[in-house]
């Protein structure tokens, strides 16, 4: 569900023919039509807007100090959130796959909550929890840490919304591990930690990396969950998406477009990278 799809291509042996099964023309027509109108056509608006700007203006907007600050805030927060998700996600995936315990089905189902919950709802909920008078905020105040309305809040929000990615990418890989590999290692005298370090982890880490990368990509673009808890102070806790929004509200469509183009290109490169990575590493491990 959360994997990108290009690792799942049919091998040559299936060789589907255009004419044996019906519906090629229809499905091709509908798909191309839809993709052009919905996905590709809107890109023309952005391209025209940024083309109109001219290179100098574009560069000036994109490297404006406040904008650069927002890049940093977003990138740092997304990176930290993804690392946290990597660890927490690994723990959850491990526990769900390897052990049986009461409440396991409920835990498994709940993992998808951040995926299904509207981001605005997540935003106000996390704010309520981490504000100085919230349940978690109060505990953090004991250590003099403020989470809400600071960059820390951004990390929390990003971590919440992207959590499922790591879990759902690692789970299938863990499930597919053959117990025989571990048994062979144990019979040769390896300790649990060694088995984990040298057999299990190498098998899991491509999926783990993919999940972390997906989590990172999602976090970069996260808006609804972040803006309630972030505080949105320029140069300090303003994310890129908000930057775009601000420029829009100033009716500076050109600037908004310019910044958006940067985000778009970065996302597409990340997407492509993840697809290529999956195609290479996940296929190698699973022999597809």
């Amino acid at each position: 569900m959360n994997r990108s799809l290009s690792g799942l291509l049919p091998g040559r042996s299936s060789q589907p023919g255009k004419r044996v099964l019906p519906g090629f023309a229809l499905s091709l027509g509908v798909s191309l039509f839809f993709i052009s109108i919905v996905l590709l056509l809107p890109l023309t608006g952005l391209i025209m807007q940024t083309a109109d700007m001219g290179w100098e203006r574009y560069w000036a907007v994109v490297t404006d100090e406040r904008v650069i600050a927002s890049y940093k805030v977003t990138l740092w927060a997304a990176a930290l959130a993804s690392i946290i998700n990597g660890l927490v996600g690994l723990l959850l995936a491990w526990v769900l796959v390897r052990y049986d315990f009461p409440g396991k089905r409920i835990m498994d189902a709940l993992i998808d909550l951040p995926f299904a919950l509207p981001t605005a709802v997540a935003g106000i909920t996390l704010t309520a929890l981490f504000a100085a008078d919230g349940w978690y905020g109060q505990i953090f105040s004991l250590f003099d840490i403020k989470v809400a309305f600071t960059p820390l809040g951004i990390i929390v929000a990003m971590s919440f919304t992207s959590l499922p990615f790591v879990v759902r990418t690692v789970q299938p890989v863990l499930e597919d591990l053959a117990p025989e590999d571990e048994e062979a290692a144990v019979s040769l005298g390896a300790t649990d930690w060694t088995v984990f370090r040298r057999i299990l982890f190498p098998a899991m880490w491509p999926a783990l990396m993919t999940g972390v990368a997906l989590s990172f990509t999602r976090s970069l673009g996260e808006f609804g969950a972040v803006i309630f808890i972030a505080g949105n102070m320029p140069y300090v806790s303003e994310i890129i998406s908000l930057m775009i929004f601000v420029r829009l509200q100033e009716f500076d469509h050109a600037a908004a477009s310019a910044i958006a183009s940067v985000v778009l290109i970065a996302s597409l490169i990340l997407l492509l990278g993840i697809n290529l990575w999956q195609a290479r590493y996940l296929r190698r491990l699973h022999g597809r």
């Binding site: 040559r12 060789q15 023919g17 004419r19 044996v20």
Partner: protein
């Protein structure tokens, strides 16, 4: 309904799966396409069905060109290698499918469909499983349902893709008998694909041996076995014992082993030659014959079956694979060989292949040249 295959070629990307393949299948015959994987046999079968399209050539059913006809219009029955039963339908629904999707004008009434399905299930003796789902069936049962489904439309041509490949030996034997019986009763023309030579030779009226996209030989099974026309076919069907040697006067010689070529044979055999001998074309003796000195050592003895199979290794000379020779149980009981015993092989007939794809030269030794009946086992 006869099938004519004329000059079929097929590429998959840069790989050529079929190279100008032609074959004639008379009405009512059961023909096997036999060959190793990659030989193109499944591709050919699918082209006959219309599940693939050829790049060149024609397919004719009963003289009519069906090359451009869509698979749906060809009205053939097809049994898939992994059965392809509709997993969400019951057995009865699976078998009824072909009848239920007929256009309204041609479709029989529901009661008649039900009757036909019952009859088909009775024919494959699985009437009691009508309401089961494919996941609840064993492999052999699934295969029979797949067969019943393929026959539901009363096809005149039945095509089977490795129909018994995934089943165990006893089930395979039963199903083979089955298919043969069905074929005799309903007289459709059948083509099936297999890599199992025993299956091909047992079931078929004719066998087409394929290799690397070409048909090597088409013949009745007995002919194929007795008179293979190429090295590939010889190698592929049954075990072959090979003696490689250099001509040395009238002898063909390799290290400690030699064979004396009969009069007139020396010219038909090249300077270096390989003699191909089937297991039944050799006998074993405790001492060498006058025309052959082929010392062997018994490696293993296989007692199961109509005859006793001995696996032998060469002593003082070399072979690529162990030799196999069959002896009767009576001979075995009187000889009582054991692992490690030494003996000598005496060829009666041998085959020599001069060049790739050519028919072999057959060399026979007259019975007068065989020596010392007392030394025979």
């Amino acid at each position: 309904m006869s099938i004519s295959i004329e000059g079929i070629t097929k590429h998959f990307g840069s790989f050529q799966a079929l190279k100008d393949v032609s074959l004639d299948i008379p009405d009512g015959q059961l023909v096997g396409l036999l060959g190793p994987s990659g030989s193109g046999k499944t591709t050919l079968l699918r082209i006959i069905a219309g599940l693939e399209t050829a790049d060149g050539g024609r397919i004719l059913f009963h003289g009519e060109d069906v090359t451009g006809l869509h698979v749906r219009e060809r009205k053939v029955g097809f049994v898939f290698q992994h059965y392809a039963l509709f997993r969400h339908m019951t057995v009865a629904q699976n078998v009824a499918f072909g009848l239920e999707v007929m256009p309204a004008k041609e479709r029989p009434p529901a009661a008649e469909i039900r009757k036909r399905v019952d009859m088909l299930l009775e024919m494959v003796q699985l009437g009691q499983l009508a309401d089961r789902f494919p996941a609840q069936l064993s492999g052999g049962q699934k295969q029979r349902i797949a067969l019943a489904r393929a026959l539901s439309m009363k096809p005149q041509i039945l095509l089977l893709d490795e129909p018994f490949g995934a089943l165990d030996a006893k089930v395979r034997k039963d199903l083979r008998r089955w298919l043969r019986a069905l074929h005799s009763e309903f007289h459709f023309t059948s083509v099936f694909v297999t890599h199992d030579q025993e299956e091909a030779l047992e079931l078929s009226d004719q066998v087409a041996v394929m290799s690397a996209g070409r048909i090597e030989q088409v013949d009745r099974p007995q002919q194929l076995y007795a008179e293979p026309s190429s090295q590939f076919v010889f190698d592929f069907l049954g075990h072959v014992n090979v003696f490689a040697g250099q001509q040395n006067g009238t002898l063909l010689n390799q290290d400690d082993a030699w064979v004396r070529l009969p009069v007139g044979a020396a010219e038909r055999v090249g300077q270096t030659a390989q003699l191909y001998m089937r297991p039944h074309e050799l006998t074993l003796q405790s001492a060498p014959a006058a025309h052959a000195h082929l010392p062997l050592c018994i490696e293993s003895i296989s007692l199961v079956g109509a005859e006793v199979r001995l696996e032998l290794s060469a002593r003082g000379w070399a072979t690529a694979e162990h030799w196999e020779v069959g002896i009767t149980h009576t001979q075995f009981n009187s000889w009582q060989p054991a692992r490690g015993d030494h003996c000598f092989a005496v060829p009666r007939v041998a085959h020599v292949f001069q060049a790739e794809g050519q028919a072999p030269e057959t060399i026979r030794w007259q019975s007068g040249e065989l020596d010392d009946p007392a030394a025979m086992i």
